[in-house]
Structure formats: C-alpha cells, structure tokens
Amino acid sequence: MLDYVVLYDSETGNTKKLATEIFASLPGMSKDLISIKDGKTIPEAETYFIGFCVHHGTCSIEIGNFLSDLSAKNVALFGTCGVTSCPEYYSSIENSVSIWLEDDNQYLGAFLCQGKMPLKIRQKFEAMMSKSGCDEEKLMKQLQNFDEAMIHPTEEDVRHARAFAAECLEKISLNF
C-alpha cells in the first residue's frame, strides 16, 4: 500500500497544476500521481489528496463515486474554480464534495483557489451582453471575474496548495 495517492480530475489544467505541486511536496517515494480520466486502477494508499475542477458548484460524479468508496483513509480535497474567491461559495463547494466521504475516514480539509477558464466562456458572456434585455450588471461582473481568473492558479496559489499539503501531513502525524 502506498503512503500517498494524488488523484485529480482536471479539464483546463488548473487542478492538474495544483496536483503536480502537491505531489512534489509529499515526502518519500511511496506515492503516485494519477488523473482519474486515465482510467487506470487507482492504487490503495493511506492518504489521498483528491483534486477536482468545479462544475455546477461541485465535483464530477466520478470523483464523488471514488470518494464514497473510500474507507478508513486520510483524505484531503483540493480544487479550482473559475468563480471568484468568495468564502461562502468555497465553503459550499467543500461541503458538497466532502459529503461523499464516509465518516470512518479522517477528513483533513480542503484547499480551493481560482482557475482560468476557457476563452469560449468569455465569448459567450460577450454575446449575451449584446442581446437586449440582458442583465448587464451581472454580465459585467462575470466578465470581470473571468478576467481576474486569467492568471490563476498563480504562484501564490501554488504556495498555498503546498502549505495546505504540509498542514495535512501535520494533522496526520498528530493522530498517530
């Protein structure tokens, strides 16, 4: 059994970036980094760092199913979403994903940050802006949010992700 598995679901590369950094920050060689989309068998590990991209305010059903199959493991979550860093929203995402875990796991917490979105989303907002009767103020906010997300995950986000991983390891060590 491995010490750590970093499993991630990434569409635009944002979550993959965090996954790679978290993986690199984990000590030792008993670890693996796996994309859930690769379809590989996911090895058993004592601790899982599970990354997801946020759609519709939660994770993909694949990640949800994987989480619900875990038992007696240490589990940390991380993810990226295009929407701006609103604490309430992040908290809601965390709740909606961590619920898949059974109570016999040790839940270590979650790290979330903003991530860039595909350009087609901005183009969609722009097209909506040109239509009469649109909610211009709301759309402007969405455009602004899109533009702010363009540079994420930043180096600072990556540092926070690494710090989060270190905190998780500390939590694990305190329980032994």
């Binding site: 519709h56 939660t58 059903i61 619920i99 363009m150 540079i151």
Partner: protein, 246 residues
C-alpha cells in the same frame, strides 16, 4: 423559498446521516454528468441546484461547515488576502502588467471604475499571451491614458502590428515623459534587434517572477516582430494579419 428538507425528501428531524444519504442519492440522480443525454437535462440541472442549495441551507443552519478543515476559507478570504497580486510588480520598476491586479481589484470591488476593470483585463490577457483579446478589451476604454497606449503597444506588437505598436509606445511616452518604463519601451523599439540580442542572454538566467519574465518575453517578441516582420516568437501570438489596429 423551498423547504430544504422537502427538497431532500427528509423530515425536519432527520439525522445528519439521513440528510447525507438523501443528498448523495439525489445528487447522483440529478448530477449534470449523469444527465448529459437526458432530453430533460435542463430540469435535471435545476433540480440538482435545488438539492445543492437545500443541503447548503441545512448545513449552514447546523453550522456544519465549521467542522471542516476550513483551509479554503482561510486562503480565499476576499481580495485583501490576494496580496500576491502585488508581487506582480506594476509600473514602478521593470514589473509586469499585473499592477492592476492589486489596485484594480479593489477598485472594481466598488463597482464604479469600469476603466480599471478593462485595464486589468487587458493586463491579464497580455500576461497570458492573448493579445487580440487584450486589444478587444482596450477598445472598450473611453479614455486613452498613457498606460492605455503602453498596453496597446505591447498587445499590438504581440499580434504583429508593429507600426501601431511603435506609435502607441511613443504616445505613451509623450503623455508621460517621465515614466522610465515607457522610455525603456520606446528605446527598445528604436534600437530594434540590437537590444534583444544584447539582452537575451539574461533569459537563460534565473526567473525572478512570472510577470517579469513575461514582460521580457513580450518585449523581446515586439522587437523581433519589428526586425523580422513576423508573428510572435514567444507567447503564441498570431501573425500580422491576425488582428486589427485600435
């Protein structure tokens, strides 16, 4: 407002375990991933959102969220926490285009300064090599400041509009003749490839920060475009025909 317990199909005295089970069951049923080929997928999505909201409401009511790791909140507590934007330099030195990331965000939070939002957006696009998009955003600005011309110079160069790029760099300097960054930019345009050949050895050196590097690459790109009349060399810029003048 919908009764969250009704949405989840449990009684208001349901235990946490019952609520979780109901949420999981309904989430699986209505999750967009599970309804991609469903002709009624819009209704399923609406239902999914209702389930999410209902669960959130119940969790917040019982202060459930405080039991979690909480790191997300700690790391994401508003824009004030994103002090890292300051690390992207700005206009003071040889910094990148992220100067608006810090002050721009604050201003845009108040919702009043549309121009600041556009400038921030342009900076973000330039930083990520999306020069045409940067030009599109700059077109939306009503006032053309020295900074505007500076951004426009870089973005135009990025898509190969070298004449406009040089003109706009000079206009930026004309409007703000004391700005060292604009002076450097104009000098680099005027000196053509010499500057790049002279400077490029430094690209192999240490990367101080993403934006500094990006700025150097952007400028190197510009000068190369000026010399060779080609498309971008470093940030995936398009050729001369890929964009229009502002």
């Amino acid at each position: 407002m919908l009764d969250p317990y009704k949405v989840l199909g449990v009684s208001s005295s349901a235990s946490d375990e019952e609520i979780k089970k109901a949420y999981r069951k309904l989430s699986r049923q209505y999750h967009p991933d599970a309804n991609m080929n469903n002709p009624n997928k819009d209704q399923a999505e609406t239902k999914f959102k209702e389930v999410q909201q209902a669960y959130d409401q119940i969790m917040n009511k019982s202060d459930y969220s405080s039991a979690s790791g909480g790191y997300a909140q700690g790391q994401s507590g508003g824009y004030g926490d994103f002090g890292s934007f300051g690390g992207f330099g700005g206009f003071g030195g040889f910094g990148g285009f992220g100067g608006y990331g810090s002050s721009g965000s604050d201003r845009s939070r108040s919702g009043g300064d549309q121009e600041a939002i556009y400038m921030q957006a342009a900076a973000n696009y330039i930083n990520s090599g999306h020069y045409s998009e940067a030009l599109n955003v700059l077109k939306s600005c009503t006032s053309k400041t020295a900074e505007w011309y500076y951004y426009s110079a870089v973005a135009n160069s990025g898509i190969g509009n070298n004449v406009a790029a040089k003109e706009h760099a000079e206009e930026a300097l004309r409007l703000d003749p004391d700005n060292v960054q604009y002076q450097m930019l104009v000098n680099r345009f005027r000196s053509g490839g010499t500057w790049y050949q002279h400077q490029r050895t430094s690209y192999g050196g240490s990367i101080i920060g993403g934006n500094n590097l990006c700025l150097k690459l952007c400028i190197a790109n510009m000068v190369c475009n000026l010399c060779f009349g080609g498309g971008g060399m470093c940030c995936g810029a398009g050729g001369p025909s890929s964009g229009g003048y502002l």
